[in-house]
């Protein structure tokens, strides 16, 4: 079978300008993990159900397994690697560490991205806001309570910082 040609396009990943060369319908998830060697973003279900591959494009949460590479032309992408500042973990990451929000860790990068978006939109979230904000992210280890507590604790530390 004849294969289509790869396309070249520019985008920004974690603040760094990149030129990508990929098949137009390659999954953005694979481009990020394999071509850009940013393996923090995980693959869970591969069909938009589990949220493990959640990243941000232009500031909005998306499932990178459902985005064809070509649609990332010109996009500003943020992955889990862009969350910490150097060695300094983000408050949300720190909170997941301290509160045992991660067990096997596969869902964690996606959970953190969803939690960041939640706290950006609801700095003082209700329990329902947290559940709604994380509803697209599945975890098969923790039973969710540790994750819920991690987000709640992160939100409290962020309030103290202000």
């Amino acid at each position: 079978m004849v294969s289509v040609a790869k396309v070249n396009f520019d985008c920004t990943i974690n603040g760094e300008k990149k030129t990508i060369s990929a098949y137009p319908m390659a999954r953005l998830l694979d481009v990020i993990r394999e071509d850009c060697e940013l393996t923090g973003t995980k693959e869970g279900c591969g069909e938009g159900e589990c949220g493990a591959c959640t990243i941000m494009i232009d500031g909005e949460l998306v499932n990178s397994c459902l985005v064809p590479a070509l649609q990332a032309d010109g996009a500003e992408i943020k992955t889990i690697e862009g969350v910490a500042t150097g060695e300094q973990l983000h408050v949300v990451q720190e909170s997941f560490v301290v509160n045992n929000g991660a067990q096997c860790g596969i869902c964690t990068p996606g959970m953190i991205m969803a939690a960041l978006k939640l706290l950006e939109e609801h700095p003082d979230p209700s329990p329902d806001d947290i559940r709604h904000g994380l509803a697209g992210n599945l975890c098969r280890c923790t039973g969710y309570m540790k994750i819920f507590e991690s987000v709640l604790a992160a939100c409290q530390s962020m309030k103290q910082e202000v």
């Binding site: 938009g48 159900e49 499932n63 397994c65 032309d73 697209g136």
Partner: protein, 285 residues
């Protein structure tokens, strides 16, 4: 097994004119691709035949929400996220908001679009019942120009619709409903997020001096298309609502729907829950 990504061509026109030119110069060659939340899932499971896709994501003319005193118009590429963030949509079209909120999770809502939801033509889709009940119209555009058609009747059978090979859905328009009306939307699934409906019912009703003045009902996941229940509506119009009228409406409704057994539910469950939802809606009027 996942399909081979090297077998799919995709080009990304930057303007509507370019999209239309592509569609008309090579009829049948191109498949339109909006946010990808349905098509990428098919690719993942190896069910997407090799195709040439036209990505609409960068086409600005297909974006944006505008409104007048009488109606609201959505670009076909309006996402569920954009719907929820728009205060006027929240004020006037609560069923669209509820459908948007219960479609996938937040990450899906940022890619899934109204136009894509309509063109994908799944009878289980979340936004069509609300759009049908709000009497939506679709703007269909080709190189020859645009035409408005009622959304009711657009789907003619499972995954079938009255859309020409060189046409695409460019806008969706909904008239502002009477502010005194009752809006009812209920989706029954395994959980609130990420679930595809077992059954979904949308209803709009307006009473006048104890009798039904206006009623519109649409249901998803109980027929080959999202169904507007015209017979049930015609029966109810002008009636005072009591237990026997509701029971009779429920029988007529039961005759309009044709639910089947599938991976998500059974025909029997859907029929019973459909009737329960109809009763719940009518009792809220």
């Amino acid at each position: 097994m996942r399909s081979d990504v090297t077998q799919y061509e995709m080009v990304a026109p930057k303007s509507l004119d370019e999209v239309l030119a592509n569609l008309s110069s090579e009829p049948g060659k191109w498949t339109l691709f909006a946010g990808g939340t349905d098509l990428m899932v098919l690719m993942e499971s190896g069910k997407l035949a090799p195709k040439n896709f036209l990505s609409l994501w960068g086409v600005k003319e297909l974006k944006g929400i505008s409104y007048t005193d009488d109606s609201m118009t959505f670009g076909a590429l309006t996402t569920y996220g954009e719907l929820q963030r728009h205060s006027k949509v929240r004020e006037y079209f609560p069923m669209l908001i509820q459908a948007a909120k219960e479609t996938g999770g937040l990450a899906i809502q940022n890619r899934g679009t109204l136009g894509g939801n309509i063109a994908n033509a799944s009878p289980a889709a979340d936004s069509p019942p609300g759009l049908l009940v709000y009497d939506a119209e679709l703007e269909l555009t080709s190189v020859d120009g645009s035409r408005w058609v009622p959304y009711d009747g657009f789907h003619t059978g499972y995954k079938q619709m009255k859309l020409g090979e060189a046409e695409l859905i460019t806008k969706i328009r909904v008239p502002r409903p009477d502010p005194k009306g009752v809006h009812y939307f209920k989706k029954v699934g395994t959980r609130r997020a990420q679930a595809i409906s077992k059954i979904v019912l949308a209803g709009f009703g307006l009473m006048n001096e104890g009798a039904v003045k206006t009623v519109r009902i649409a249901v998803g996941s109980v027929a080959a298309i999202t169904l507007r229940c015209h017979k049930t509506e015609a029966f109810l119009t002008g009636k005072s609502l009591n237990d026997s009228v509701i029971a009779e409406a429920s029988e007529i409704f039961g005759g309009e729907i044709t639910p089947i057994d599938d991976v998500r539910s059974t025909g029997r469950y859907r029929r019973q829950v459909g009737k329960n939802l109809l009763k719940d809606f009518l009792e809220s009027l």
